[in-house]
C-alpha cells in the first residue's frame, strides 16, 4: 500500500548560482511524478506557497558566506529530518571560496563603492562546516541522475547509491579514448570525483575538476604529469583552485603547485 502521507521536501539557497536547484526543474520527465510522491513544502524558486516545516528532506544549495546565513542554516537543520547538500558551493564552498585565500576586505572595496553596505564573512564554507549533513551531491552543477537517485532512495527508505571513484574510472567504463594518452591533453579525471558522466573527455577536453576531489585521491601526485604535458606550475595551481578551491585535497594540490613555482 502506498504511504498515505507524502514526505515533505524543502529546497534552500545560500551563496550560489541557482543551477543546482534548477536541476530539479530540469527533470522534465520526472517533475510531475515527483510532485505526486512528495509534498514540495518550500521551494521559493518554484512556488509562492511555503510551509514552515518540519521537513522530511531539505535540499541545500550554496555556501555559507554571510553572518545571517550561518544562523539560517542552523534553523533549517533543526527543522529537517534529512539534510542533503547539492553542488560544489554547498559541499566545498564553491568558486566564491577563492576569497578564503585573499583579503576579503580588498575584494569588497574592489567590487563595491560603498563596502559598508555589504555584509560578508571572510570565508565561504561548505554547509558541513556548520551543521551535520546526511548526504552530499557533488558537482558544479550536480548531475540530474544523481539527484533522482537520492530522491528515489529517500522515498524508498534505502541508502542512495552514489559512487565515489574517479572520473577516470567512469571514462574508461564508457570506452572513451583517453585525452591524455592519445592527445597529450592535461586532465584531472584521475583525481576528480565521479558523477558528471565524464563529459569533458567526450568533448575532447580534459576534465577540469568541477566535481572536486575523488575520495582517497592524491591530487598533488598528478603535478609532475601535468607539468610533463606542458602546464606551467601557475596554470596547474589555478586548475586546482577554481570551482572547489577550498576542498582540502585540491587546496593541498594548489599549494603544492605553488611551492613548485606557482603563480606570484
Amino acid at each position: 500500500m502506498p504511504d498515505p502521507v507524502r514526505p515533505s521536501l524543502a529546497v534552500w539557497k545560500f551563496a550560489s548560482c541557482d543551477g543546482c536547484q534548477l536541476t530539479l526543474l530540469d527533470c522534465e520527465d520526472e517533475l510531475l511524478p515527483i510532485a505526486d510522491r512528495v509534498e514540495i513544502a518550500t521551494f521559493h524558486e518554484a512556488t509562492s506557497r511555503a510551509v514552515d516545516g518540519p521537513y522530511d528532506v531539505s535540499l541545500v544549495e550554496g555556501s555559507i558566506s554571510t553572518p545571517d546565513d550561518a544562523v539560517r542554516i542552523r534553523e533549517i537543520r533543526a527543522r529537517s529530518r534529512l539534510l542533503v547538500t547539492i553542488g560544489a558551493c554547498a559541499t566545498a564552498g564553491g568558486i566564491q571560496a577563492l576569497r578564503n585565500f585573499a583579503d576579503v576586505e580588498e575584494f569588497r572595496r574592489v567590487v563595491y563603492a560603498r563596502p559598508e553596505y555589504v555584509r560578508t564573512l571572510a570565508t565561504s564554507t561548505p554547509i558541513s562546516a556548520h551543521v551535520p549533513v546526511d548526504f552530499e551531491l557533488r558537482g558544479c552543477p550536480i548531475d540530474k541522475g544523481q539527484l533522482l537517485e537520492i530522491l528515489g532512495a529517500v522515498l524508498a527508505h534505502r541508502a542512495p547509491n552514489l559512487p565515489t571513484d574517479s572520473v577516470c574510472i567512469d571514462c574508461k567504463r564508457r570506452g572513451r579514448v583517453c585525452v591524455t594518452v592519445a592527445h597529450g591533453t592535461p586532465c584531472l579525471g584521475p583525481v576528480t570525483h565521479t558523477g558528471c558522466g565524464a563529459i569533458c573527455p567526450g568533448f575532447h577536453r580534459g576534465c577540469y575538476g568541477c566535481f572536486g576531489p575523488a575520495e582517497g585521491a592524491n591530487p598533488a601526485g598528478l603535478l609532475p604529469k601535468l607539468e610533463t604535458l606542458g602546464m606551467a606550475p601557475p596554470a596547474v595551481e589555478r586548475l586546482f583552485q577554481t570551482f572547489t578551491a577550498a576542498a582540502p585535497a585540491f587546496r593541498a594540490a594548489g599549494e603544492a603547485a605553488r611551492a613548485r613555482g606557482g603563480r606570484p
Binding site: F14, Y117, F203
Partner: protein, 434 residues
C-alpha cells in the same frame, strides 16, 4: 494620514533571493525598494589574475539559468581584446547554442514561473493538476531547449564545450540533423504556447519604457549588434559605459544601472521585440500578428506573449542554422600571439536582456580588470518604477492583496537575482541617486 509598509519578505518564482519594501504615506508612495539579499560572490575581484581563457567557464558560474550568455559575452569580449574574429560555422554554432538557452530559459519562465500568476495558482505543479496537458507541453518544450544545449555544450547547466575561438569539439552534420525532429516537434509546441498565453487575462497597464537592446543589420540580435534605444541611442558596444552607468544603493547587494543623466531603462524581451520587429523569423511574425502584439508591447504583463514569440523564433532559427551547417575545418580558431596589454568589451542578448562584459588584459593574457553588467541589474530601477505605478493605482487594496500584485509586477520582468548580485564596478558615481 496613515503610514503603511508593504513588505514582501521573499519574492517567489524568481531566480535568486530578493525582497520588496514599499513605503506609503497617506496616498503618496514614498519608496519602492527591491532588496536583493543574495550574498555577494565577488566575481570581478577574483577574476583578476586568472588567465583570459578561464573567463568563459568562471563567469558561467554567475548564473545557472543563463550560463551560455556569460560564456558568449566573455568569449566575444576577449576575442575583441585579442583582435580575433570568429565567423562561419563556428559563429552559427554559437547562435544555435544560444537558441537552446533562450528556449530553455524562456519556457522555464513562461510555464513554471509566470503562467501560474494569470491562472490563479501558487505554482506550476498545482497548475498541472487542472491543466496537465499545458504543463506537459511546457516541460517537453523546455526539454528540447536543454537537449540542444547538451548536444552542443555537453550539459545544459554550465556547458563544458565553449572556449575562446569556438568549441572543443564540433558536431558532425549527421549529429545535428538527427536533432531536427525534436525541433520540428518543438516548433508546434512553441506555436501552441503563443496561442495559450495570448488568451490569458491581462491587467490594463501601459508603461513608458526606454527600451534598450542590440540591433544587428540582418538578424534578430543574439551575439552581435549595436546598442540602440527607443529614445534614439545608437552606439557601438565598446562605448556602452559612456551612456550607461551603475550606482550602488544601500538596501541591495546588486547595483542599479541608469542612463547617465537620465533614468531607468528596460532590457530584455520587450525591448528586443520593440526594437527588432523587422528581424522576426517568418513563423514568429505570423504568430505575433495572430496574438495581436505586432508593434511595441508596453504592457509588462504581456511580456509572457513576447517571450513565447521569441521561443518560436529561437526554434525556427535553430532549424535554419542546422539546415545550413557545414562543419568547420577546425573546432576553434587559435588565439593570436598575446599582446603586452589589451582591452575589449562585448554585449550579447541573454534571455533577460543585454549582458555586458569588459576585460583588461596584462602580460601573458592575465586578466587585470573585469567588469560585468547583468540584465537584471539594468532592469532593477525600471522594475521599481513599474511597482510604484502599480501601488499608486492600487492604494485601496489591503496589504496582502497589494503585496501579491507587487510580486506579480516584479515577475513580469523575469528578474534573475543570482545574476544581479555580482555586477559591480570600481568607480561608481557618488552623485545622489535619482
Amino acid at each position: 494620514m496613515t503610514d503603511r509598509t508593504i513588505a514582501v519578505d521573499y519574492v517567489a518564482r524568481v531566480e535568486g533571493e530578493g525582497a520588496l519594501a514599499v513605503r506609503i504615506s497617506g496616498r503618496a508612495v514614498e519608496a519602492v525598494e527591491l532588496n536583493i539579499f543574495e550574498p555577494p560572490r565577488f566575481f570581478e575581484a577574483f577574476l583578476r589574475g586568472r588567465d583570459f581563457a578561464e573567463a568563459p567557464d568562471i563567469t558561467a558560474r554567475i548564473c545557472g539559468i543563463c550560463p551560455v550568455a556569460y560564456q558568449m559575452s566573455a568569449c566575444h569580449a576577449l576575442e575583441r581584446a585579442l583582435g580575433m574574429r570568429v565567423d562561419g560555422p563556428i559563429r552559427d554554432l554559437r547562435r544555435l547554442l544560444y537558441c537552446g538557452e533562450w528556449i530553455e530559459s524562456h519556457v522555464l519562465h513562461i510555464y513554471l514561473l509566470h503562467a501560474p500568476d494569470f491562472l490563479g495558482y501558487p505554482d506550476a505543479l498545482r497548475l498541472a493538476r487542472d491543466h496537465p496537458e499545458a504543463v506537459k507541453r511546457g516541460l517537453r518544450l523546455k526539454q528540447v531547449g536543454n537537449r540542444l544545449m547538451e548536444l552542443l555544450g555537453g550539459r545544459a547547466i554550465h556547458p563544458i564545450n565553449v572556449r575562446i575561438g569556438g568549441f572543443y569539439r564540433v558536431p558532425s552534420r549527421e549529429e545535428l540533423f538527427a536533432f531536427r525532429p525534436q525541433l520540428e516537434e518543438a516548433l508546434a509546441l512553441a506555436e501552441a504556447t503563443v496561442r495559450w498565453v495570448a488568451d490569458f487575462p491581462f491587467p490594463d497597464d501601459e508603461e513608458e519604457y526606454d527600451f534598450v537592446s542590440l540591433r544587428h543589420p540582418d538578424e534578430y540580435p543574439m551575439n552581435e549588434g549595436e546598442v540602440v534605444s527607443s529614445s534614439g541611442v545608437r552606439l557601438p558596444v565598446d562605448r556602452y559605459e559612456e551612456v550607461f552607468e551603475e550606482r550602488q544603493v544601500p538596501y541591495s547587494t546588486a547595483l542599479h544601472s541608469v542612463r547617465r543623466g537620465g533614468g531607468a531603462y528596460l532590457v530584455g524581451p520587450l525591448a528586443r521585440f520593440a526594437l527588432n520587429q523587422d528581424r522576426l523569423s517568418p513563423r514568429a511574425r505570423v504568430l505575433a500578428r495572430e496574438a495581436g502584439v505586432l508593434g511595441p508591447v508596453r504592457n509588462p504583463y504581456r511580456s509572457i506573449v513576447v517571450r513565447a514569440i521569441e521561443v518560436v523564433l529561437a526554434v525556427e532559427e535553430a532549424l535554419r542554422l542546422i539546415d545550413g551547417y557545414r562543419p568547420p575545418d577546425r573546432p576553434f580558431a587559435p588565439p593570436p600571439p598575446l599582446p603586452a596589454s589589451a582591452a575589449g568589451a562585448a554585449i550579447t542578448e541573454a534571455p533577460r536582456g543585454m549582458l555586458y562584459h569588459r576585460y583588461r588584459l596584462g602580460a601573458g593574457g592575465r586578466i587585470d580588470e573585469a567588469k560585468i553588467v547583468a540584465p537584471t541589474s539594468q532592469n532593477q530601477g525600471r522594475i521599481e518604477e513599474d511597482v510604484r505605478h502599480l501601488v499608486e493605482r492600487s492604494l485601496d487594496l489591503d496589504d496582502a492583496a497589494l503585496g501579491d500584485r507587487c510580486e506579480k509586477a516584479i515577475r513580469n520582468h523575469d528578474p534573475c537575482i543570482s545574476c544581479a548580485t555580482h555586477f559591480l564596478r570600481l568607480d561608481v558615481s557618488r552623485r545622489p541617486g535619482p
